[in-house]
């Protein structure tokens, strides 16, 4: 066992290659300069984005979490780009560099096994790449100013990036050992990375065009762009207005992303991408182990083939086990027809953060005009448990939501700011609450509904004004603050649930960095629509 471990490159004690590589790589100004350049680049891009975002927020209503999510996605893609740009340059010279420097023979003459040399090279090269990657994480914290990205999302994106980095790193090592010349190895690595990234998308488009139908999504699995998009997907939606800014990006996005509601594959795309990268890395690593041998590089011995096959089998077993363990959430949920509806929500993992189904306190309207009693709709529902909502119910629901936002969820803690003006937006927008709320077409409220909403809110210490869109409300060009200390309330559509409750996204906005949004749950209790909680992600800035 000990011998076997020694031969396979796993040995206690520090790998001399790592010591040597770190000594020479981190010495002198080179590493320092590279790190500085990478950080300046990341910082510069982020700063530019921030400026763009702030500029945008002056003219259109872009909600803070959307900005946060957009910037997070941009940052993730920047990191992906850097990984693909830096890693091959670092690893493609690892083996061939020793050959060119004529030190390979000297290494081979020592008892240091080729496997151990390879392992040392991989660890030292990856630690350098990861240093560059992790150094940018503090910069990424700018995302938290805007909110909208949960730590879980961040970790998920980071894991995908990490796996991609390792795969590209091993690819570079493989090319380095195969060609034995750094120039060729570098070129071959970059070409392969570009092919791996672009070819699946290209093929998907081609298949789509030829078949005149949606191409099968699994084609995209090898592409890092799609894998990252799938990992980011829950925190982003294609309708995010932020992404509409980048037409080119959103084009790639729309092609590259794999919505979870795809009927042909039950899981997010990255669930397939990660095992693909894992097995690719393993195969390349095993092949490289053979290639670094000084003698008979291309002759694979039977025992090596067996060991390699065994390792791959173990890996496949692990992947299969992971898939089986989580099958309850994906394949089986689909097979049982549970939540087999056009909305992705039920088959998704429980969404990202925080406050779910939290019971919210409500200020009862003190005195004032008592709302007309509403009757729970009983007239033959289309589907069991579904509710139909009449005009009165709509008005009552929106009024309750506006009241809740103005009096409780105003983000100012215990002291209600009591803004003197409330602007209510006539047109609904489903993007204002929980990002996972299904998006439906905007609806413009009719005159009667608006009047009943205004009437229901008459007791609040504010003037109620209706506006066609939040853009029409005058704002301070610098801070984005609503003029006259007003506050804008935007509603989403009413989403009737099977259990009889209604989900309503809504947001409150009073300045560029002062806004909040969530999706409320309302239930018909004692003849009145009452807020009983919220669902999904809430955002605040």
């Amino acid at each position: 066992m000990k011998q076997w471990m020694a031969r396979s490159g796993f040995r206690l004690g520090v790998n001399p290659i790592i010591v040597k590589e770190l000594r020479s790589r981190m010495r002198g100004p080179r590493a320092f300069i590279t790190l500085t350049i990478v950080l300046l680049l990341t910082g510069g891009v982020l700063f530019g984005l921030l400026q763009l975002v702030l500029a945008t927020s002056r003219y259109t209503t872009v909600l803070s979490p959307q900005l946060g999510q957009g910037m997070f996605a941009a940052l993730a893609y920047l990191e992906l780009f850097m990984i693909c740009a830096i890693t091959p340059a670092v690893t493609a010279g690892a083996i061939s560099g020793e050959k060119e420097k004529q030190t390979y023979e000297m290494l081979m003459a020592t008892p240091l096994s080729p496997a151990r040399i390879l392992w040392g090279k991989l660890i030292s090269a990856m630690s350098y790449v990861l240093l560059l990657l992790f150094a940018a994480i503090p910069l990424a914290s700018i995302v938290f100013i805007f909110g909208g990205v949960a730590p879980r999302e961040m970790i998920k994106a980071l894991v995908v990036l990490l796996v991609i980095a390792i795969t590209v790193g091993i690819l570079g090592l493989f090319m380095s050992a195969l060609f034995g010349r750094t120039g060729w190895a570098t070129v071959a690595s970059y070409i392969t990375v570009v092919l791996m990234t672009a070819a699946p998308i290209f093929i998907a488009v081609l298949v789509g065009v030829l078949r005149q139908s949606e191409p099968p999504r699994w084609i995209l699995a090898p592409s890092p762009i799609s894998a990252l998009a799938a990992a980011l997907a829950p925190s982003l939606s294609q309708s995010d207005s932020f992404f509409q800014l980048f037409y080119v990006l959103s084009g790639i996005w729309n092609i590259g992303i794999s919505p979870i509601s795809q009927t042909e594959i039950p899981r997010p795309l990255y669930h397939y991408s990660l095992p693909f990268y894992g097995s690719l890395s393993l195969v390349l690593y095993l092949m490289t182990m053979r290639l670094v041998q000084p003698t008979r590089r291309f002759r694979i011995r039977a025992r090596e083939a067996l060991v390699g096959a065994a390792i791959l089998m173990v890996f496949c077993g692990l992947v299969a086990a992971a898939f089986l363990l989580t099958a309850g959430r994906y394949e089986w949920a689909r097979a049982n027809g549970l939540g087999f509806d056009p909305t992705p929500a039920p088959i998704m993992p429980p969404p990202v953060i925080a406050v779910e189904q939290q019971v919210v306190q409500i200020y009862p309207p003190p005195g004032g005009p008592t709302p007309t009693p509403l009757s729970r709709p009983t007239s033959t529902p289309a589907a069991p448990g579904e509710v139909t909502l009449n005009e009165e119910a709509r008005a009552q629901i929106y009024a309750a939501v506006a009241r809740q936002l103005y009096t409780v969820d105003h983000t100012f803690g215990d002291q209600p700011p009591n803004w003197p003006v409330i602007y209510l937006v006539q047109t609904t927008d489903d993007g204002v609450g929980d990002p996972n709320t299904p998006k439906e077409e905007p609806v413009t409220l009719d005159e009667a509904t608006m009047q009943s909403i205004s009437a229901a809110l008459a007791d609040l210490p504010a003037e109620i004004r209706w506006t066609a869109s939040s853009d029409e409300v005058a704002k301070d060009p610098q801070t984005g603050q609503v003029e006259g200390n007003g506050v804008i309330v935007t509603f989403g559509n009413l989403h009737a649930q099977k259990d009889g409750s209604v989900h309503v996204p809504a947001s409150l906005y009073f300045s560029g960095l002062g806004a909040a949004g969530k999706t409320y749950i309302l239930e018909f209790i004692d003849g009145q629509w009452t807020i009983t909680g919220t669902t999904g992600v809430e955002w605040t800035s």
Binding site: R23, S24, P111
Partner: protein
């Protein structure tokens, strides 16, 4: 060639290496005794480097076997690697490493414990006379210093056998002398050193045995003096006489083994000088002198012009070396 020394450091049996159709080394049978300084001589492309790389376990022989200290090398290469120190003819240095780190790296490759590494690095630097350069960057060293550093790297694990490929190539005369001193020192330490060169004078001064290799074949091998004797088709004797040349010639003609005789007057001195081609061992040479003296010939000087290795080499390779 076939010296029956029981303790051989390296033996090869019908060692052959082919690169495609090209045969680099063919049926090489070497026997290198322990503790000897063995020189492998041959023109460029004769197969010296191929041979050394096979001995170092870096190249698999097409056929034949290598026996290191009685063990076939192919079987447990990693263990035998610890007994061999190899210095390639073209070697690299790692940029951005200090001299001591360079040696430390190789010492780590041989898994020496930290304390031992520290001691051995200082000892080696002292041996190769680089103590002052301990904390200098490797790439600032001169060619000769690098060569010595490379030699030191091959010795971090205190191997019994050192394989040095062209250790003196590219060195200026002074550095060459230093390298020679160093190798002598190693010989004195009882290490078996195998070195290659295409410059013969280098090896002649240094080695106690040589192997002459040409076009992948071993032409001659064995102790230097024995090879000389084996190759000695004739000695050239210089005799300075005061007496009559014709008389002395007559005496010499009567002795066995005497070939061509040339008589020249000696410049700036009286008497005559004879150059005599003679074949025979040292006893025969002594007999020849005794015969001359007993007949009353007055001999001022009697000396032998030993054939240089260069001449042996040229003779062996039949002048085919360019």
């Amino acid at each position: 060639m076939s010296e029956a020394t029981p303790t051989m450091a390296i033996e090869t049996r019908n060692l052959t290496r082919q690169y495609g159709k090209l045969t680099a080394v063919q049926d090489l049978n070497l026997a290198i005794p322990k503790g000897s300084l063995f020189g492998l001589i041959g023109p460029n492309g004769a197969g010296k480097t191929t041979t050394l790389r096979m001995l170092a376990g870096l190249l698999e022989p097409t056929s034949g076997e290598i026996i290191l200290n009685g063990n076939p090398i192919q079987q447990n290469l990693t263990i035998l690697r610890r007994q061999i120190g190899y210095m390639p003819d073209f070697f690299g240095v790692y940029e951005d490493l200090l001299v001591w780190e360079y040696l430390d790296f190789f010492a780590r490759c041989y898994e020496l414990p930290a304390r031992r590494r520290k001691v051995i690095i200082d000892e080696l630097l002292d041996l190769v006379d680089l103590t002052e350069k301990r904390d200098a960057y490797v790439h600032t060293l001169s060619r000769g210093m690098r060569q010595r550093l490379c030699l030191a790297h091959a010795m971090v694990h205190d191997p019994q056998v050192l394989l040095l490929d062209e250790p003196a190539s590219g060195l200026d005369p002074r550095a060459r002398v230093e390298m020679r001193e160093l190798l002598r020192e190693l010989g004195a330490m009882g290490k078996t050193v195998v070195l290659s060169s295409h410059i013969l004078s280098e090896l002649a001064e240094l080695c106690d045995s040589i192997g002459i290799i040409e076009r992948g074949r071993l032409v001659a091998s064995g102790r230097l003096d024995l090879i000389r004797a084996q190759l000695q088709e004739g000695r050239r004797l210089h005799i300075h006489l005061l007496s009559d040349a014709a008389e002395a010639e007559a005496i010499l003609r009567n002795q066995p083994g005497v070939g061509r005789i040339e008589a020249d007057p000696v410049n700036g001195a009286s008497g005559v000088k004879l150059d005599v081609d003679f074949s025979g061992d040292e006893n025969a040479v002594a007999d020849l002198l005794a015969a001359l003296v007993s007949r009353g010939t007055r001999v001022v000087s009697f000396s032998e012009n030993r054939t240089g290795l260069e001449e042996v080499f040229l003779r062996l390779t039949k002048g085919e070396v360019a």
